[in-house]
């Protein structure tokens, strides 16, 4: 039961709720014979396939959601950074190379700003209808994930990788960007009026 609940919750990010329910049921049913590794692979495969399926069907709308997400995120991020600088909580400009030497309070503030910016962005975007039934935060979540992978690869290939940048790409982006964004999107979508139509039992 818990397995199905988790799968359905994850699939709801890329699918309308009624589709997520039936596909989650299919995957849980097959996992009894095929095992846990197949189940995990199938879940990732279905999520990725459905995201690109929805993106292919409505490229312009997906890109507009992404741009809107970036605008909301930057607005909240800039406001909290400037606010923090005005209140003397942290410097307005932080050099990436000086991050290891930055005071602990500054690091906590910067992390909090990123977390808050993404949570608020998720809450704002989650109110709107998604593309092809996917949660509206997904284009931005995929953008953050892609940026992290590209940034990490670029750092490694250029030989300029540092431990703190690597930590940011590997742990920081999932924890401070993607998780709060998706959480905000899910909470907001659940609070919004249900759009389930055309379902017959």
């Amino acid at each position: 039961m818990h397995k199905a609940l988790i799968v359905e919750g994850l699939l709801c990010l890329t699918l309308p709720p009624d589709r997520a329910e039936t596909i989650a049921g299919d995957l849980v049913e097959e996992s009894h014979t095929r095992g846990g590794r197949w189940f995990a692979g199938a879940l990732v495969g279905v999520s990725v396939a459905m995201f690109f399926h929805a993106f292919g069907a409505a490229r312009v709308r997906t890109l507009m959601k992404l741009v809107l997400g970036l605008v909301v995120w930057f607005t909240v991020y800039a406001a909290t950074r400037v606010g923090g600088a005005v209140l003397g909580l942290q410097p307005l400009v932080v050099d990436v190379r000086s991050i290891p030497d930055a005071p602990f309070g500054t690091l906590v503030y910067l992390g909090g700003v990123l977390l808050l910016s993404n949570l608020v962005t998720g809450l704002v975007l989650g109110r709107g209808a998604g593309v092809g039934g996917m949660n509206p935060v997904m284009p931005l979540a995929v953008f953050w994930a892609s940026a992290a992978v590209i940034g990490l690869c670029a750092d490694i290939l250029s030989g300029a990788a540092t431990w703190y940048c690597t930590c940011l790409y590997v742990f920081g982006v999932p924890a401070l960007y993607i998780a709060p964004l998706v959480l905000g999107g899910v909470l907001s979508a659940r609070a919004a009026p249900s759009l389930r139509v055309g379902v017959s039992r």
Partner: protein, 111 residues
């Protein structure tokens, strides 16, 4: 006629599997039927995107069944091929047959 009546190979396979299964055509059964009949292992993501596309084209229709315990209390989505879907499969088969007609190389192989 549907918006995009031309069918890809996998779309035809899925439509034919649904027709063969009759009233029991849902995700797991369709994948099993394709595996059994063609020996082709289908990724779940490929099947669900194809079913979604076929439904958008109006070639299949779906309905929800009852939730069952072995599925974690989740319902099955049963698919059936619409009249347009049957017509699209027939048209695709006629196209194949027309291309095959008179091909000597295939006749020798099957002789």
């Amino acid at each position: 006629m549907s918006r995009n009546a031309y069918l890809g190979e996998f779309e035809q396979i899925v439509l034919l599997a649904i027709m063969r299964l009759g009233d029991d055509a849902y995700g797991v059964a369709i994948r099993d039927e394709i595996q059994k009949r063609t020996g082709r292992s289908t990724a779940p993501g490929a099947l669900y995107t194809t079913l979604d596309r076929l439904e958008q084209k109006g070639l299949v229709v779906s309905r929800l069944g009852e939730p069952t315990p072995e599925r974690g209390g989740r319902a099955k989505r049963y698919y059936s091929v619409s009249a347009e879907g049957i017509e699209a499969v027939e048209r695709a088969q006629r196209c194949y047959q027309s291309l095959l007609d008179g091909l000597q190389i295939l006749r020798k192989k099957h002789a």
